[in-house]
């Protein structure tokens, strides 16, 4: 019978887990069945059909589409559910499968392990096998799953905006390729972004050979490549630097947001957390110095932070260089002479640089100096010079040979040749230049000068308007490809699902960049899988190619493909030249009048590429806690000077261009500086991203991509009712409450119990046990969690991991402004200023602390006893579990929750259209979007309807799966205790810092039990006697006592002690005193 579901290929002799759908689809029986399905199916439907036959056809269709009917709601879903009539061999319905792949990002990639359910990718994890180690992921990677199921993706091949058949595009490109080949590619311009794919390099080489006269351009709106470019300049060959923040004892950052917006931030966060560890062997945590203008995540985690206007950072960096030079007693040479003028333009008023330099000199070979992508080359070279002179290269900063980048020009050159009429055909491979191009290029008109514009596009956007041909780009989860991770390892990108919009064969859904380039070049091999396979064969060298390929796909990387670190010699020539030429202009900039402006990469939407991703839009900015838009960041002092308040609409005028946006007063910002996040204010984008924020690109010129001077601001109007910004945290002070606890290293060494015991708020804890006798917790396991505040940097990857794992809905801007965000896990960010200073000045140089806050699983849970219907109850393993079906939504539990971690579904968020609030069951529904978005949901977790309360349960679904798996494995042995580490909640899995540890408290050797015995372990609000199962490990700062901003206590501790009656700083109670003490 032709309509039988296809048999899967015979089982392989060896483990072969990483099989793709594509592979499956190429088997002859499948193809045969596929071809025959429609005629036969149609025929069968015409004849009298038996019920059984009908079910067979339908279930086969469902299998083909890979449609899983996940997401059952609290109530019975309305959709018809048809079971498999025949289950494919080797397929366990409901059991997730994992595939290794990678997410390419600019010049790097994030290795991933992706969970698929019924053929749908639903959850992204880091690939623990990868040589980079278990570094978790970042928020972008977690959220990328939503981009896959974005209903606003470009779905059709278009010509002049009209949909065409894919074949038309294929024919057109084939004829063009012949024409270009004849003309040796003259008149052809190819514009791309940064990519790390070896296959793409290889294809490009082939194209260059075929079209030697074609010109290649590169445009990356926020280019992080300068770290490599500076290494190449400083060390004389193409190199990629890799830092060892875990080994460096002293780290100085020149505006490098390593923990946030630099390339591979998740790696640096991982290393940073290791470097900050308080080991039993008495090794001190690393010390982090940051010079910056914005308040970044790195600055927020710094021990010492010097905030400066952007134009003064180069001078301060030079000053630091000079101080190191002076204190190390190095002889004057050409380098010192070259930097002298620049160094002198920063006076170092409180000898911040001098003391920082002393610390560096004292830890030679164990320190690290990094410059950020916003800094000019001179600063990068100064950092390299310091690293070289302090003996750090090869120790705390490694360099490895990178593939020599082919010569490519930038966007200004392309615009010039377009205007000169030299470009006949423009091929745009990545990005959205009409939106991201520097404002002074007038790119839109320039793009129209090309006769033909052919573009591979992920969505309809600003650039689409001036494109002749648009080819839908595949998402990386649908693509064959490859990439190099930051350490140089070749990593696989393989499809986990057929292209969503490509019909049954997936052929018409779009092209990958490899296929696109291959078609542009008219290459013989255009199938991306074969292209990648060829590349891997070349890279892997000798050996069993089939085996290697299989291993490569299984592991997700090509073992041993990372180049060994090089040890090139320092070559001062280029640096000297750069410093000589730049010193004058940099010194002049430092003295320039007017407000200064920093354009920065956004933590949520990157350079604008994630604007239509609801998860990222709703992810609170780690620092400002703003969602759904950007604001004009301004320091408290500057705001007072200009008489500005929060949300005031102001207009910025810079070099004759203006832009309008709301003011956000950001503590810790450099004075006289405006921080403008790029990526918002899109004119043409999907329904999610429309109308969010203002467009800072409109002020950005090619000459000043990262910072500019001479801005003027003008108040447009005071905020009205509609101007309220959706911010998830209104109040940033701790109010002297020891919720987040910290101590300085010296205090901690002298008195390890300081943070946990002596804050003395616990005096209000009731002396005796409660009157109510709680039922004993008798489960085999007793779950608990520990969160290390010393490791957490606030990056928010966990927030998105939780959202993705637990089907947490997005609520939209208006609802966030109403305080109804649904995140089960949030990161609280508090500022602490010097409490002895007037309130006005406390926001100038605040210390920042982050605290991940989720359900604490209280043993005496205050939410439980107030629920009238038993919807939230305790299980015997200590979890506070929710029965969503039982909840009627009194919200009493949320009121009584001291941590405010319960989230209420005020509307049917899961049923709302993309761009509107849910308007009740009778409101019209958009036809397809909901179905598509439902695919992103995790079928292991209930989708909650409106009117019910929801919250974190330590990923109870993962706990249950692990327990079931353990029971099956135990068999008759009866050993059903789940081993430590077998259960990793989504937040812990995503955390690059490994700050979140989950485990069994009844096992004294589990990681979480060990952490809970640490001296700095405490529980938030313990005096309420709710007995939370989550504990926190106090943060230990490591300030340098010689620095001008040194203070004995961290300010939050100082504030708490000052407010405590009789508790004067320095009179903290002795260590080891039990909390409370009755």
């Amino acid at each position: 019978m032709k309509n039988d579901a296809p048999a899967r290929p015979a089982p392989w002799k060896e483990p072969r887990y990483w099989r793709s759908l594509d592979e499956l689809a190429r088997t002859p029986p499948f193809q045969e069945w596929l071809q025959g399905e429609f005629p036969d199916g149609a025929q069968a439907l015409e004849h009298p059909v038996s019920r059984r036959r009908f079910l067979e056809i339908m279930s086969a269709s469902f299998l083909l589409a890979g449609l899983g009917l996940g997401g059952a709601g609290c109530r019975r879903p309305e959709e018809a559910i048809l079971p498999f009539a025949r289950i494919p061999e080797g397929y366990d319905h409901g059991v997730a499968e994992y595939y290794a792949t990678a997410m390419p990002v600019r010049g790097s990639a994030i290795p991933l392990l992706v969970k698929t359910h019924e053929g749908r990718p639903v959850k992204i994890e880091g690939n623990p096998l990868h040589p980079q180690g278990r570094t978790g992921t970042d928020a972008f990677a977690q959220a990328s799953i939503l981009n896959l199921y974005d209903p606003d993706r470009l779905r059709r091949f278009t010509r002049q905006g009209q949909a065409v058949a894919p074949a038309a595009a294929i024919d057109f490109l084939a004829s063009q390729a012949r024409e270009w080949a004849e003309r040796r590619g003259s008149g052809l311009a190819i514009l791309e972004g940064r990519a790390s794919s070896p296959s793409r390099e290889r294809i490009e080489r082939l194209l260059r050979r075929r079209y030697p006269e074609a010109r290649w351009y590169i445009h990356e709106p926020i280019d992080l490549q300068i770290a490599r470019a500076s290494a190449a300049m400083a060390l004389g060959q193409p190199l990629a630097p890799a830092y060892r923040m875990d080994l460096a004892r002293r780290i100085v950052s020149f505006d490098a947001d390593l923990l946030g917006t630099e390339e591979d931030a998740h790696r640096w966060i991982h290393q940073h957390a290791r470097g900050r560890q308080l080991d039993d062997d008495g090794r001190d945590p690393a010390r982090l110095y940051v010079l910056e203008s914005l308040m970044t995540l790195t600055g927020a985690n710094a021990d010492h932070r010097l905030r400066l206007e952007p134009a003064r950072i180069p001078a301060a960096a030079a000053r630091l260089w000079w101080e190191v030079h002076r204190q190390a007693g190095w002889a004057a040479d050409e380098e010192s002479a070259a930097l002298r003028a620049l160094a002198n333009s920063y006076a170092d008023p409180n000898s911040w640089c001098a003391e920082c330099a002393r610390d560096l000199v004292e830890s030679r070979g164990q320190c690290l100096v990094v410059a950020g992508h916003r800094q000019p080359m001179a600063v990068h070279l100064a950092a390299w010079s310091l690293n070289h002179r302090l003996g750090n290269i090869g120790r705390t900063v490694h360099v490895r040979p990178a593939p020599a980048a082919a010569e490519k020009e930038g966007l200004p050159e392309l615009a010039a040749s377009l205007r000169a009429g030299q470009v006949e055909a423009l091929v745009i491979l990545d990005g959205n230049p009409a939106y991201t191009a520097p404002a002074d290029l007038d790119w839109r008109s320039a793009q129209r000068m090309a006769r033909t514009v052919i573009r591979l596009a992920a969505s309809e956007d600003e650039t689409s308007a001036a494109c002749d041909w648009q080819i839908p780009a595949l998402h990386f989860l649908e693509s064959w490809g490859d990439a190099r991770t930051g350490d140089g390892t070749v990593t696989s990108v393989q499809p986990l699902i057929q292209p969503l919009f490509g019909g049954a064969s997936g052929k018409d859904g779009g092209w990958t960049d490899l296929e696109f380039l291959a078609r542009i070049g008219g290459l013989e091999e255009q199938r991306p899988r074969e292209i990648v396979r060829q590349t891997i064969r070349e890279l892997a060298g000798s050996g069993d190619a089939v085996r290697q390929w299989r291993q490569y796909l299984h592991d997700g990387f090509l073992a041993g493909s990372a180049p060994a670190p090089a040890s090139p010699a320092w070559q001062p020539g280029a640096a000297l030249e750069c410093w000589h030429s730049a010193a004058g202009s940099l010194a002049a900039q430092a003295a320039s009048p007017g407000l200064q402006v920093v354009f920065h990469r956004d933590y949520s939407v990157d350079d604008g590429r994630y604007i239509n991703n609801g998860w990222l839009q709703e992810m609170p900015d780690p620092i400002t806690k703003l969602t759904w838009e950007n604001a004009i960041l301004i320091s408290p002092r500057t705001a007072r000077l200009h008489k500005l308040a929060h949300f005031d609409r102001i207009e910025i005028a810079l070099r004759g261009r203006t832009v309008e946006g709301p003011v956000w007063i950001q503590p810790g910002m450099a004075d006289n500086t405006l921080g403008l996040a790029l990526g918002y204010g899109r004119e043409r984008t999907g329904r999610v991203g429309a109308g969010s924020g203002y467009n800072a690109y409109r002020l950005r010129t090619a000459a000043a991509l990262h910072a500019d001077t001479g801005a003027q601001i003008r108040l447009v109007r005071r905020p009205g009712k509609k101007d309220r910004i959706a911010c998830t945290q209104d109040h940033g002070a701790l109010e002297g409450r020891p919720i987040v606890r910290e101590a300085s290293l010296d205090q901690f060494r002298a008195d390890p119990g300081l943070a946990s015991g002596a804050m003395r708020i616990e005096a209000h804890r009731p002396p005796a046990a409660s009157l109510y006798s709680h039922p004993p917790l008798t489960g085999l396991h007793q779950w608990g969690m520990a969160v290390d505040l010393n490791a957490c940097v606030g990056c928010s990857a966990c927030v998105l991991a939780c959202q993705s794992e637990n089907n947490v809905p997005i609520v939209g801007r208006g609802q966030v402004a109403r305080g109804r965000e649904m995140h089960w896990l949030r990161i609280d960010r508090y500022y602490a200023g010097p409490p002895d200073r007037p309130l006005d000045e406390q926001g100038d140089d605040p210390q920042v602390v982050f605290q991940p806050m989720m359900c604490q699983q209280c043993e005496h849970a205050p939410c439980e006893y107030v629920c009238p219907v038993n919807a939230t109850v305790h299980d015997e393993e200590g979890l506070n579990v929710m029965a969503y079906n039982r909840c009627v939504g009194t919200r009493y539990c949320a009121n009584n929750c001291p941590y405010k971690v319960r989230r209420f579904n005020f509307f049917d968020y899961h049923r709302r259209p993309l761009d509107r609030l849910y308007r009740g069951p009778l409101a019209p529904k958009a036809p397809d979007e909901r179905d598509l978005i439902q695919w992103a949901r995790n079928p292991d977790v209930t989708v909650r309807m409106r009117g019910v309360m929801e919250k974190c349960t330590y990923c109870v679904q993962r706990i249950q799966q692990a327990k079931i798996a353990r029971k099956i494995a135990a068999g008759i042995s009866g050993d059903i205790r789940v081993p430590d580490g077998a259960i990793v909640p989504a937040c812990a899995e995503a955390c690059p810092a490994e700050a979140i540890v989950f485990g069994d408290l009844s096992d004294p050797n589990s990681r979480v039990s060990v952490l809970r015995r640490q001296a700095r372990c405490y529980r938030a609000l313990e005096f309420l006697d709710v007995r939370p199962r989550t504990s926190y490990l106090a943060r230990i700062r490591n300030p340098n006592s010689r620095m001008p901003d040194w203070h004995e206590h961290p300010w939050s501790l100082e504030d708490a002690l000052r407010r405590r009656e009789g508790g004067r700083p320095g009179q903290a109670e002795p260590a080891g005193r039990p909390e409370g003490g009755g």
Binding site: V866, T890, Y899, F904, P921
Partner: protein, 475 residues
């Protein structure tokens, strides 16, 4: 017996300065009372009634429209957020429940305390109680996320075999309020039977005869009926009296049993009861002062009544004021920074406007009632009663919202702003209340005729030196 009869006991008249003031002015006789009170329910509706009824009915429609919108769309149409889980919904609930206390207080406690002046106002106050409890009962249902599942709060055997959670104060609420409603309804209805019989007897149309006949349950006025009636009233009064105290105590447990600073307070039960009596009395005054004039009942609901209710208002207001002071004291005395903060935040935080308005309305304005002139001025008492109503609504708002909006973790602090639907629901519930009350005075005996005849005759007789009062209720 015979000996007693032969020497009739004549109580001496009290001296003039000790004479009780008459409960019914102008020596109105029983026929006048029957005619006057029944007349309100019998004749054509006066113009003022329509003028009051139509807007009230409009507001009632608004109430139902708001509820329909709320239920179809979600609780999010109100201004609540994840920090402030309760705001106007529970404020309105406690406000209405509080108002529902005056009727039973007047009918039951004053009945047991033998205060005959209560008879003029008891029926209207009891009716007001019922209507207020109806208004109150709406809110716990519609404030649920899934109101269609509200029956899960009742101990109804079901297939899930899940019982309500008896540790939750919300479950206690269900029992307290439903008991209170049932007992109040019975008390009200039983007390009304003789008067319904009067209306039946006076009815001219067949429909009225039928309806009032059914409602009067065959009352003939026989001595057996009177005897049962008296016993039932006494028993129900005895049953109601603890309920007056318990219902609002249990409502206060919604807050007191939590661990939130500002809620977690042992003073709440007496404080809430005092507040409830206070607000209930104020609402009785708000309703009766205009009605007394509009229905021409100045002789029945006299200045004396208003004066005495003013005194109750003063006493309750002072108790409430004392509770406010004690709240401050306990917060300071506890030494707990969270408790101190909760109080300071109430008084000086973003909702300070609500706190000080509440204080002015509830604790300060009633002090004017020390003045006899104020107590006897209808306009002044009416204005004061309005102020107290506003103040008591604000009191619940202050307790609920200021405690919630800034609790333990500063990261979750928020500021509640009502939406139009919040406002519409409150206005609508007010409309529903007024509509029910207007229907009540239009169709049912608004004054307890039978009781007042007895009480009036007795006190009136005493006042006029008649040694043998005719008839009587408690003879």
């Amino acid at each position: 017996m015979a000996a007693l009869r032969s020497q009739p006991l004549v109580a001496p008249d009290p001296p003039a300065e000790l004479a009780r003031p008459p409960l019914i002015l102008n020596r109105r006789g029983t026929a006048w009372i029957s005619g006057k009170v029944s007349g309100i329910a019998e004749g054509r509706a006066p113009r003022w009634w329509w003028a009051a009824f139509l807007p009230s009915a409009g507001l009632t429609a608004l109430c139902f429209a708001m509820i329909a919108y709320l239920v179809s769309t979600g609780i999010g149409v109100w201004g609540l957020d994840c920090t402030v889980g309760w705001a106007w919904d529970i404020t309105n609930f406690v406000f209405w429940i509080g108002i529902g206390h005056a009727g039973t207080l007047i009918s039951a406690i004053l009945f047991l305390l033998r205060q005959p002046w209560r008879t003029s106002i008891s029926r209207a106050a009891e009716a007001m109680t019922l209507f207020a409890v109806i208004c109150a009962a709406i809110f716990p249902v519609i404030h649920l996320g899934r109101p269609w599942d509200c029956w899960w709060l009742f101990p109804i055997p079901n297939a899930n075999a899940i019982w309500p959670q008896f540790r939750s104060p919300l479950t206690w609420d269900v029992f307290a309020i439903s008991t209170y409603f049932v007992v109040s309804l019975m008390f009200w209805y039983v007390g009304m039977i003789p008067d319904l019989a009067t209306l039946r007897d006076r009815a001219r149309t067949r429909a009225r005869k039928l309806v009032y006949g059914l409602l009067a349950m065959g009352w003939t006025g026989s001595i057996r009926h009177w005897r049962h009636y008296e016993k039932a009233c006494l028993l129900l009064a005895g049953l109601s009296t603890p309920l007056v105290l318990s219902v609002h105590s249990i409502v206060s447990f919604d807050f007191a049993a939590s661990l939130l600073p500002g809620w977690h307070t042992t003073i709440f039960p007496p404080y809430f009861v005092a507040g409830a009596i206070f607000s209930g009395m104020a609402m009785v005054l708000t309703l009766l002062i205009p009605i007394r004039t509009l229905c021409g009942l100045e002789d029945v609901i006299t200045v004396l009544h208003i004066d005495r209710m003013g005194k109750v208002l003063l006493a309750a207001g002072s108790m409430v004021g004392y509770a406010y002071a004690i709240e401050w004291f306990t917060a300071r005395y506890s030494g707990s920074p969270h408790e101190i903060f909760a109080w300071e935040n109430r008084a000086f935080g973003p909702y300070a406007w609500a706190y000080w308005t509440m204080l002015a309305c509830n604790a300060i304005s009633p002090q004017l009632l020390w003045l006899r002139r104020v107590r006897r001025s209808m306009a002044a008492v009416f204005l004061l009663s309005i102020a107290v109503n506003v103040g008591m609504w604000l009191e619940r708002f202050v307790i609920i919202v200021t405690s919630l909006h800034r609790d333990f973790l500063p990261s979750s602090w928020s500021y509640f702003r009502p939406t139009l639907v919040d406002i519409g629901t409150l206005a609508g519930s007010l409309g529903l209340f007024l509509t029910l009350f207007l229907l009540f005075i239009r169709f049912l005996p608004m004054i307890a005729m039978a009781e007042i005849k007895g009480a009036a005759a007795r006190s009136g007789a005493r006042a006029h030196g008649d040694p043998d009062p005719p008839g009587g209720l408690s003879g």
